[in-house]
């Protein structure tokens, strides 16, 4: 790779002292700037742990995690990360506006700058006019859009998303998938996305990383060469089904069919 990778993992192992479980073993992975990489695998394969290692929410037992050319803790201190979790983790005592402004406050932006950016972000996620609402007044899909706006508000170089649409219904999820891609193209950010939905992974990503469980390892990668921009029609193209099948077979190989959650996604 001639450009510096956005994320570089080398020999990363994670062992949890509690129960002496090896969650991840010897992971090597490079993610280039501007990529949209999905991590997929059966439950227990350590995909969320891998994301948390990249985000320096937990330290590796062995190996190195480099982000933006820096060790992960330094990248975190430099505000390189925008994180989105499955539950939107909005602060319910703050309005939508104030939630989106939270990272900007922490970064010491002044009020006027914050206000302008928040407006811009709410436009981006199509929530203009909801700035004064409180989170509990919004639907699950809207709450997730607020969480995405918050994660992107300070223009982090890396967006880490841990099953962000997992709790949403199918229709909302597909609509948000398209919106997320739109945002990704416009902001030119790098995304690492954890999911257990094959179709979601294929639809969104430029590359799908398939992981195997116990201990978590990378079982294979599938480059997704579907043309951009992707639309609702992309899901009906033959190439889309070919890639879904390819990912599914990799997952079969790692014994994913023991796991109901992945099977359910396969049969959809």
């Amino acid at each position: 790779m001639n450009v510096q990778p956005m994320v570089a993992l080398s020999g990363v192992t994670k062992t949890f002292t509690k129960g002496n479980v090896t969650a991840l073993r010897e992971i090597d992975l490079q993610i280039g700037p501007g990529e949209f990489v999905s991590l997929i695998g059966p439950s227990g394969c350590g995909k969320s742990t891998l994301l948390r290692l990249i985000g320096d929410l937990t330290p590796p037992t062995a190996g190195t995690v480099t982000v933006n050319g820096k060790p992960a803790p330094q990248a975190r201190a430099d505000h390189d990360y925008g994180m989105v979790f499955q539950d939107s983790v909005l602060f319910d005592w703050r309005t939508v506006e104030k939630n989106v402004a939270l990272p900007l406050e922490l970064l010491g932006w002044d009020r006027a700058k914050r206000k302008a950016r928040v407006e811009e972000m709410l436009r981006l996620v199509e929530l203009q006019g909801f700035g004064g609402h409180h989170p509990w007044q919004l639907s699950g899909g809207m709450q997730m859009r607020v969480a995405i706006a918050r994660a992107l508000s300070f223009e982090p170089s890396l967006l880490l998303m841990d099953e962000p649409f997992g709790a949403l219904d199918e229709m909302t999820r597909e609509r948000l998938n398209i919106e997320l891609l739109e945002i990704w193209r416009r902001t030119e950010s790098t995304v690492v996305f954890v999911t257990h939905s094959i179709s979601e992974a294929v639809f969104l990503s430029t590359r799908v990383v398939v992981m195997s469980p116990r201990p978590g390892r990378i079982a294979g990668m599938v480059d997704i060469d579907l043309p951009q921009p992707r639309t609702a029609d992309t899901r009906e193209e033959p190439r889309f089904f070919e890639l879904v099948t390819e990912v599914r077979e990799l997952l079969r190989g790692v014994g994913a069919d023991e796991h109901g959650s992945v099977l359910a996604e396969v049969s959809e």
């Binding site: 985000g55 929410l57 975190r76 201190a77 430099d78 505000h79 990360y81 925008g82 994180m83 979790f85 539950d87 983790v89 602060f91 319910d92 005592w93 703050r94 939270l102 990272p103 406050e105 922490l106 970064l107 409180h134 989170p135 509990w136 880490l160």
Partner: protein, 292 residues
């Protein structure tokens, strides 16, 4: 006919907004409850007195003065050429209120600061919590004279005694509240590389507010009790504590004076409580499931 009446309840009374109507229902409920309690009191008085029952105690105008006697007492001069009893009691209540307010503020701040210190140090928590709990097992009547000896008799010592009763619920509840934010929220703050201080003020403290206000409601009434009791060993005559001691000595002659004083003391406690409820309404903005 009935159909039309049921179909247009809003048209029947267009002047009443839902909020106003809820307020009206609430006020009516309060009044009816008050009237019912007064009725029960007088009914009990009447049944026991006319039947001559002596269990658990004989009922007469000294043991349980009539409510109208108490009400009338408030409108009478409190002594020879003295002010009306109600005026006197309001002066005393105002004095006690100032002590209680100072104690409440001191106790709330102390309790809050303690909780913040404890949540940041597991060592401090393990070391100090037993003593904080132990402090509350010592009766206030045993502590009060010591405080008076240390600080000299005066409203300051009374405030400290009131604070002693106030801080504990605040510390315990706020400690819990500061720990109530979910792990994900802390991870989010961590991903922003937020400092401890930022996590405290932007996550822990806002998350703790419902807990804080629950504690303040308990402390509000406790601070009034603390102030009244605190006046006793300080020999302060200008507060409700002084009035209670005074009227206690004349109970057999004018029981209604002590009862009237108790009513005023109770109202003061209720006023403190309501002030906290009002503050909570203004300050706490949480999802419905987080509100009591």
């Amino acid at each position: 006919m009935t159909q039309a009446a049921t179909a247009s309840p809003a048209l029947a009374r267009p002047s009443l907004s839902p909020a106003l109507r809820r307020g009206g229902i609430r006020a009516a409920t309060t009044l009816v409850t008050f009237a019912a309690l007064c009725g029960l009191y007088e009914l009990y008085h009447w049944v026991w007195a006319s039947a001559g029952w002596t269990w658990p105690f004989p009922v007469n105008d000294t043991t349980l003065p009539h409510l109208w006697t108490i009400a009338k007492a408030l409108g009478r001069p409190s002594g020879y050429q003295g002010p009306l009893l109600i005026v006197l009691l309001l002066h005393h209540a105002w004095f006690t209120a100032k002590e209680a307010l100072a104690g409440f503020a001191l106790g709330a701040v102390t309790g809050f600061v303690l909780a913040v210190a404890l949540v940041h140090s597991r060592l401090a928590q393990r070391a100090l919590l037993p003593y904080i709990v132990a402090s509350q097992t010592i009766p206030i009547l045993a502590i009060a004279p010591m405080v008076v000896v240390w600080l000299k008799s005066g409203w300051q010592s009374v405030a400290v005694i009131a604070a002693y009763l106030t801080f504990f619920p605040v510390t315990i509840n706020v400690l819990r509240g500061l720990q109530s934010a979910e792990a994900r929220a802390h991870e989010l703050m961590r991903s922003y590389a937020a400092s401890r201080w930022q996590v405290l003020w932007r996550l822990r403290v806002p998350a703790s507010l419902p807990y804080l206000f629950t504690a303040l409601k308990i402390s509000a009434t406790a601070s009034v009790v603390g102030a009244i009791i605190g006046e006793l060993p300080s020999s302060i005559q200008s507060g409700l504590g002084g009035a209670i001691i005074n009227f206690n000595q004349y109970y057999s002659l004018q029981p209604e004076n002590l009862w009237a004083t108790n009513v005023v003391a109770a109202l003061l406690g209720v006023a403190f409580f309501l002030a906290v409820v009002l503050a909570e309404k203004l300050v706490v903005r949480r999802a419905p499931e987080h509100l009591a």
